[in-house]
């Protein structure tokens, strides 16, 4: 029993110390987020340190799970209780929903003092504005349409890095013949749809993509091109591990890293896995745009939306957070860890690796035309209800080897209609 008592004392002391060390109340900023992995958590630490250096208290509220689904439940409950946190990690269209509820605060003062209009990519600013006012601050830009390749495996199989869909299938056949798993994939709905949206972008092009996922145009959704996309998806499924159901994406990434599989279709966060395995971009692994989507860029952006507060000191802390989140030190640390692109457009890109530099170049190019598109699988293109409906159809299609592509296209359109 004595040992337990001692343990309990130790635990209570360990808990009590940091609490008593908290500084006098200069204003607290509570941040609800799901940046909990090693690299992300380290990046959040840099944000926290800066806030504390500025004399404010940081209250961390991390809730992992379901790509932020658990955190959203918490946020909704907090909002209903009339007690939302100062800042919450929120995705694209949801910011508008929260804005419509009248819960978000205006950040115009911070924005104009720090020239956000010049710093942020002009095409994307509507995401962070509600009713013409800034209500959220972006922290990064992820690119989703990437293909990750293990060049050693490709070399052994005599496969060529694919630039078109046909080349992708050819490479996959070679990998398969050489005894490798051609495509590493985890059977989770968002992963299934990540592959699907890249295929849509490749087959329908950026304009078709926009019509399908943003305008939800029925003709595009049931058209011949969409059926062709489903056919391609079915073909790709043949190159995936039949035991993939429920597999986390990073386990799939590990299969490519260890040379069991040849490639993976995944967003740029996959890079953090390669980095953690001490691999170097360009030599140990290759990142190429998903075949047929060169020059296009599907984005997935994390933002911190700011909620209305009453305490004047807390508002100061909140404004400080909004400012610091866009400052260079945090943008560098955070995005190096996450594998994403800094959202600030005046960064020195030489501190980033080959993949991110390529990403920055493609981003600039895509911004000029129609190439810049919101990611459907990552809740940037449509409401959650529509996204859920698409997920259901795509995942069910992918899990049924006998599914009919033409029927799937019809189901897709019907499900979207029902969810609106």
């Amino acid at each position: 029993m004595n040992a337990i008592t001692r343990l309990a004392t130790a635990v209570s002391l360990a808990c009590a110390l940091p609490l008593s060390a908290v500084a006098a109340d200069n204003g607290t900023v509570e941040v609800l987020h799901w940046w909990t992995s090693g690299g992300e958590a380290a990046a959040v630490q840099t944000l926290k340190q800066q806030i504390e250096k500025d004399g404010f208290t940081w209250k961390d509220n991390a809730v992992a799970g379901g790509g932020g689904a658990a955190a959203m439940t918490v946020l909704k409950s907090r909002a209903v209780a009339g007690n939302p946190p100062a800042a919450a990690q929120i995705k694209g269209p949801d910011i508008q929903e929260w804005g419509a509820l009248g819960l978000l605060t205006e950040l115009d003062e911070v924005a104009s003092a720090n020239h956000w209009d010049q710093l942020l990519p002009a095409k994307l600013t509507p995401i962070w504005k509600y009713d013409g006012h800034y209500v959220a601050v972006p922290v990064n830009i992820h690119r989703v349409n990437w293909l990750w390749i293990n060049p050693q495996v490709f070399e052994k199989a005599g496969a060529k890095v694919p630039e078109t869909l046909d080349e992708l299938f050819a490479a996959a056949d070679k990998l398969k013949a050489a005894g490798f798993q051609p495509l590493a994939h985890g059977g989770q709905p968002w992963q299934d749809s990540t592959v699907f949206e890249s295929l849509v972008l490749s087959v329908l092009g950026p304009q078709g993509y926009h019509k399908a996922f943003v305008e939800l145009d029925e003709q595009t959704l049931t058209g011949a091109k969409m059926i062709e996309t489903f056919q391609a998806l079915q073909r790709l499924a043949g190159y995936m591990d039949p035991n993939r159901a429920g597999r986390d994406w990073n386990i799939a990434a590990a299969e490519v890293i260890t040379g069991k599989a040849g490639m993976q279709i995944m967003g740029d966060w996959a890079k953090s896995e390669w980095t953690a395995a001490h691999k170097v971009a360009g030599s140990d692994y290759q990142c190429v745009p998903f075949p047929g989507t060169q020059g296009s860029f599907t984005y997935n952006i994390d933002s911190l939306a700011m909620f209305k507060l009453s305490n004047a000191n807390d508002i100061k802390a909140q404004n400080d957070l909004a400012k610091v989140a866009l400052e260079k030190p945090f943008q560098t640390a955070f995005n190096q860890n996450k594998g994403s692109l800094p959202v600030r457009q005046d960064m020195d890109m030489s501190q980033f690796d080959a993949c991110t530099q390529r990403s920055a170049k493609d981003f600039a190019e895509a911004s000029k035309g129609d190439g810049l598109q919101p990611s459907m699988a990552h809740n940037m293109a449509s409401s959650l209800a529509v996204q859920g409906a698409i997920f259901d159809v795509v995942s069910n299609f992918l899990n049924d080897p006998k599914a009919d592509p033409a029927k799937a296209a019809k189901q897709l359109s019907a499900a979207i209609k029902a969810s609106r």
């Binding site: 689904a69 949801d94 989770q188 409401s383 859920g388 899990n399």
Partner: protein, 302 residues
């Protein structure tokens, strides 16, 4: 003591005494009225609204229910619950009874064995779900293990088979709850009068027959408790699905509790989520209340 004089002596206090039981129960009554039925009422109201992202009160009539009944995922989830609930309750009962009866045969180290059967109940599914996910995964777990050990033809891929994945949920759930059922029945067996069994043995009845015909039927109340607890676990199964399959492959292993949660919170269709919650409660009401009523009424006379 004369009751008339007693009443005369302590009239105000006596009045208090008579009200005291109700007074003690009052806070709980309030809690039940607000925290259970008030909230159910609120959910009922929401199910008739156009609530999407957050609650709103724009009337939608029966639209949400119609949409729900038209939703394939909801039917998959409901059918899964029927299969899962039936198998889970049935197998847990059989296994629990069997282990309890065997353990009741003067086993040495009974306490130790009992603890082994009981421990899964102590762990949450967030914890054990990952372990089960591995064990049942074809590339990683039992499947690979048995082939590594030389059983080449062994194939166990239920977890990735949309038709069979629900049985994986049953396996993990039975593992978690059957030990508890065992404890309930073991406790019940300890309360059975030994002389009944002795008398039956003198009459020449075999042991299995005695259990089947005499002992187990006398444990009817234990069955009631066990079914109540198991049904409650089955209907609320959420952590289990979330940790093991997250409803997949596709939505083949979805359950109503999971459906309700994801539509209400993650998929921004709060009205439909509420409608599913109401249908769930309605189904529970239809199945459970007759059972509850008959069991409670039977005991009135005691």
């Amino acid at each position: 003591m004369n009751t008339a004089t007693a009443r005369l002596r302590a009239s105000p206090l006596d009045a208090l005494q008579r009200w005291l039981p109700k007074l003690v129960l009052a806070p709980s009554m309030l809690i039940v009225l607000v925290g259970f039925y008030g909230y159910i009422g609120w959910t009922l109201v929401l199910s008739f609204t156009q609530s999407t992202f957050m609650p709103n009160y724009r009337w939608a009539g029966l639209t949400q229910y119609l949409k729900l009944l038209d939703n394939d995922r909801w039917w998959v989830a409901s059918k899964n619950l029927a299969v899962f609930g039936g198998l889970f309750i049935g197998i847990s009962l059989v296994l629990g009874v069997l282990l309890a009866v065997l353990l009741d045969q003067r086993i040495r180290r009974e306490g130790f064995i009992r603890t082994i059967y009981l421990y899964p109940m102590a762990l949450s599914m967030i914890v054990t779900g990952t372990a089960w996910k591995w064990l049942l995964n074809p590339g990683l777990g039992l499947d690979k293990l048995l082939r590594d050990w030389g059983w080449e033809g062994f194939r166990f891929d239920w977890l990735v088979d949309p038709e069979r994945v629900v049985y994986c949920l049953v396996i993990a759930a039975v593992w978690q709850a059957s030990g508890f059922v065992m404890a309930l029945f073991l406790a019940g067996l300890r309360g059975v009068d030994p002389s009944i069994i002795r008398a039956a043995q003198v009459d020449g009845a075999s042991l299995p027959r005695i259990y089947l015909r005499i002992v187990l039927p006398s444990l009817r109340p234990v069955f009631f408790s066990a079914v109540m607890i198991l049904a409650h676990i089955a209907i609320k199964s959420f952590d289990l699905v979330a940790a093991m399959t997250a409803g997949g492959p596709g939505y083949a292993s979805d359950l109503p509790a999971m459906f309700m949660y994801s539509f209400t919170f993650s998929r921004g269709q709060m009205g439909m989520g509420s409608a599913s919650a109401i249908l769930m409660l309605g189904a529970i009401l239809a199945i459970l209340v007759p059972y509850l009523y008959s069991e409670l009424r039977n005991k009135r006379h005691e």
